[in-house]
């Protein structure tokens, strides 16, 4: 695992069951707004999962852009019935 960002970021205690997920959240969450490129330090990023995809609902405090940033292994297209 790469080095974690420096303080003031905090992590749950290493013994916590999902400390690894929390560490990866800290490492992988978007750092800059996809719309205006401002730092997301003042924004809000909630991570959720869909299958193997990791999805970051992202809100930028600078331009107030809201959207999902998706980390995925492979692109999957669900075909509707036809």
């Amino acid at each position: 695992m790469p080095d974690l960002p420096p303080d003031p970021y905090l992590l749950p205690p290493p013994g916590d069951w999902f400390a690894s997920d929390a560490a990866h959240h800290l490492l992988d969450k978007p750092k800059f707004c996809p719309s205006c490129a401002a730092s997301l330090d003042r924004g809000l990023i909630s991570e959720w999962w869909s299958g193997h995809d990791r999805i970051f609902l992202t809100w930028c405090a600078s331009c107030r852009w809201t959207g999902n940033v998706v980390l995925f292994d492979k692109a999957i297209i669900e075909e509707p019935e036809h």
């Binding site: 003031p8 970021y9 905090l10 992590l11 749950p12 916590d16 069951w17 999902f18 997920d21 929390a22 959240h25 800290l26 969450k29 003042r42 924004g43 809000l44 990023i45 909630s46 991570e47 959720w48 999962w49 869909s50 609902l57 809100w59 405090a61 107030r64 809201t66």
Partner: protein, 418 residues
């Protein structure tokens, strides 16, 4: 999943915190009118601070920081005047704005009192409750939501829950929990303990949606066997930002209120209005207030009713749920949306703007959208809700059941042309 910092920012409600500053832009119910029948003052705790709420002889309410600025004694044990309250310890008197106006032992220095101003807010009554505002001026209007002002019979279930208010609010944008916690789990309890669980909560969710609107977020659902024309989707019901949820069905209309007492305690109220079409009732002077049970004698959660199940889910997460350890899924997008809304609102306050749901215009009533035909259950819903929810603890439960049954019979008779 959030970072530690984001979780703290979203859950800390004290003065000077971003969420605390946001939450101080709203009015809160903090007591009932009957609380002042025997004593003119009481201590209330709101947003991490203790306050003295008092009622003057002519019926005006005031709220002031509990600790007297002189020697920090409690103003709750003070002397209530028509124009303010006086500390019982040394007689310092404060007006409704918290300004010290008298210091009996300091008469030789008349300017001292001018520099003493206690923290104070505004208070007024609505729907049998005393509401307070402890934020900055200009003071917004007290929103007169429909359930508080429409005619009907009211009962209010109350409990203080040992958890942060936000984890209760997140439940309001989590439609899927209904079919499991109040459906499958309730059915499991019924089968193992020998009672019949209500069926209308067991229907499977096919589709859910969340729409932001001026007072919060409207939640919609399509249940198995239903379509978009049904009330649950076409109308839905709202999370009322930042601490309420409006629910209802079959002329039982309810505001679920979550008052943030402090970071780890929430005053939870089920404020319910019963006003069935076709029904008749005598005017009610004050709401009936009752306690609903959270724990049994052995300290276990009481989960054989709907709101007890909810309380278990909220409180068992811990005082402040650790969102660095959670794993949200696709069905939790409403939760992520709500957090975004809070963060956006905090930013609005920092920018000097009003956050969502702050009302500045005078008004008589604010009607909130709320489905009438809940879960497609028809009139059976009233019995299921009253008997299977917190209202089972209401001292007027039997009267409520009769009110709704009689009204349903009257409607049926009218529809049949008899």
């Amino acid at each position: 999943m959030l970072t530690v910092e984001q979780n703290e920012e979203l859950t800390q409600v004290g003065p000077g915190t971003p969420m605390g500053e946001l939450l101080r832009r709203y009015w809160y119910p903090i007591a009932f009118e009957q609380d002042f029948d025997k004593r003119p003052s009481k201590t209330v705790r709101l947003l991490g601070e203790n306050w003295t709420l008092y009622k003057t002889p002519s019926g005006t309410y005031g709220i002031i920081g509990e600790a007297c600025p002189h020697r920090r004694a409690s103003l709750t044990y003070g002397i209530v005047h028509e124009d303010g309250i006086r500390c019982g310890y040394h007689g310092w008197k404060y007006d409704f704005d918290g300004q010290c106006v008298e210091q009996p032992a300091e008469n030789d220095n008349s300017t001292f009192k001018d520099k003493i101003k206690a923290k104070a807010g505004q208070a007024q009554t609505m729907g049998g409750m005393v509401w307070v505002y402890v934020g900055p001026t200009p003071v917004p209007e007290l929103p007169r939501f429909d359930v508080y002002v429409l005619d009907g019979i009211r009962d209010v279930g109350v409990a203080t829950l040992p958890c942060n208010w936000l984890q209760i609010m997140e439940n309001s944008v989590d439609p899927h929990h209904v079919e499991w916690l109040h459906g499958a789990y309730f059915e499991f309890l019924g089968q193992t303990q020998g009672f019949e669980a209500p069926k209308s909560f067991q229907k499977k969710h096919i589709k859910v949606a969340f729409d932001e609107f001026e007072y919060g977020i409207i939640k919609r659902r399509v249940l198995e066997g239903h379509g978009e024309e049904n009330d649950d989707w076409a109308i839905g019901h709202p999370l009322v930002f930042p601490y309420g949820m409006r629910v209802g069905g079959q002329w039982i209309d309810q505001m679920q209120i979550r008052v943030p007492i402090d970071d780890t305690h929430t005053w939870k109220l089920f404020y319910t209005l019963h006003h069935p079409e076709g029904g008749t009732w005598e005017p009610q002077e004050r709401p009936v207030v009752y306690d609903f049970e959270i724990y049994d004698e052995e300290g276990n959660f009481v989960t054989d009713y709907i709101e007890g199940q909810d309380a278990m889910a909220w409180v068992s997460q811990g005082e402040i749920t650790d969102r660095t350890q959670e794993h949200l899924g696709r069905s939790d997008q409403g939760v992520a949306l709500l957090r975004k809304m809070f963060k956006e609102a905090m930013s609005s306050v920092e920018d000097g703007e009003d956050p969502p749901g702050v009302v500045r215009e005078k008004h008589d009533v604010i009607d909130l959208p709320c489905e009438k035909d809940k879960f497609g259950a028809g009139t059976a819903f009233t019995d299921q809700w009253i008997n299977g929810g917190s209202m089972r603890y209401s001292p007027i439960r039997e009267e409520l059941l009769k009110l709704h049954r009689d009204a349903a019979a009257a409607r049926e008779k009218a529809d049949s042309g008899a």
